[in-house]
Symmetry: C2
Subunit: 146 residues, 2 copies
DNA sequence: ATAGCATCTACAGTGACTGTAGGGGCAAGC
DNA sequence: GCTTGCCCCTACAGTCACTGTAGATGCTAT
């Protein structure tokens, strides 16, 4: 378990140097020992923890959930129901986001397919944005001009 | 075109009171006239502009794109190619996010379906997070934001 | 006149970083 | 030994698009 500098830990884990220091400040990572010159020295466990963090962040877990997950990781004998719940909450959130984005995709497609590259006045994109029929309330396209 | 207070403008447009003031500060909305008591007074055009802003924000346009769109809205004779490009960029971004999130959805589903509610040590969720095999490729962390 | 909500300004806080300024550490080449 | 050049250090400001707060004032209804 040789020690590596923050730069190498960054390269190995895929977490940026500044972000590693930020995680240390936020307590996601404990402060590592330092070299005589004051540089941080990381071992293999730290790098593994960084990779864990990065993977979880990539999956959309926020830092609060990450704290929980890292706490759990330190207690392998505990029941995993908690981790399970966190993952389920993530999955629900991801599905909600997908549904919302697919709605946007449809609306943007509709806007673009109707665009005839004329002037702004008759542009479907602008009309679409002025038209709040898909949100709520009345619309008044003319009121925006001038 | 009767004038309304910020509260009513908020109700009619669906943009919160504080957010309206924030937009004014950022120049998305020009400073409206005031009542004798110093309260902001909005006309129908302002409310329409707020609805336009809200709709565009809902569709994921950021404030820089919004400035462009609002500028365009003021020049109805200009060609609409610019608005078109903005919408296309939005659509591409939305599709990238959807693809990224569907990847996450699959991974989370896999994690959860393998979880036997045992201990953390054998929990598929934790294993999955520790295992970086599924995430070596280039990453699009942005896909998770917003 | 009073109650009670709406509005005002000004500023701090959010999440998860990113960027900058101004310095010091460290290995290689001269 | 000295310089070059990259890596690292701390501390703090900036990002985005708001949200929240405090304390004062305006407006409306009773």
């Amino acid at each position: 378990m040789r020690d590596v500098t923050i730069g190498e830990a960054a390269r190995e884990s895929g977490v940026k140097v500044t972000t590693i220091r930020f995680y240390e400040e936020r307590g996601l990572l404990s402060a590592p020992p330092r070299s005589e010159g004051g540089q941080r020295l990381y071992g293999a466990k730290d790098v593994a923890r960084l990779r864990f963090i990065r993977h979880a962040r990539d999956l959309g877990f926020d830092m609060a959930a990450l704290s929980d997950l890292l706490e759990l990781a330190g207690h392998p004998d505990a029941p995993c129901a908690h981790a399970d719940r966190l993952a389920e909450a993530r999955l629900e959130d991801v599905r909600r986001r997908i549904a919302a984005l697919q709605g946007l995709e449809k609306e943007l497609e509709r806007m673009l397919s109707a665009c005839r590259s004329g002037t702004v006045e008759s542009c479907a994109v602008m009309e679409s944005l002025s038209d709040h029929a898909h949100c709520d309330g009345p619309h008044d396209t003319d009121a925006l001009k001038g």
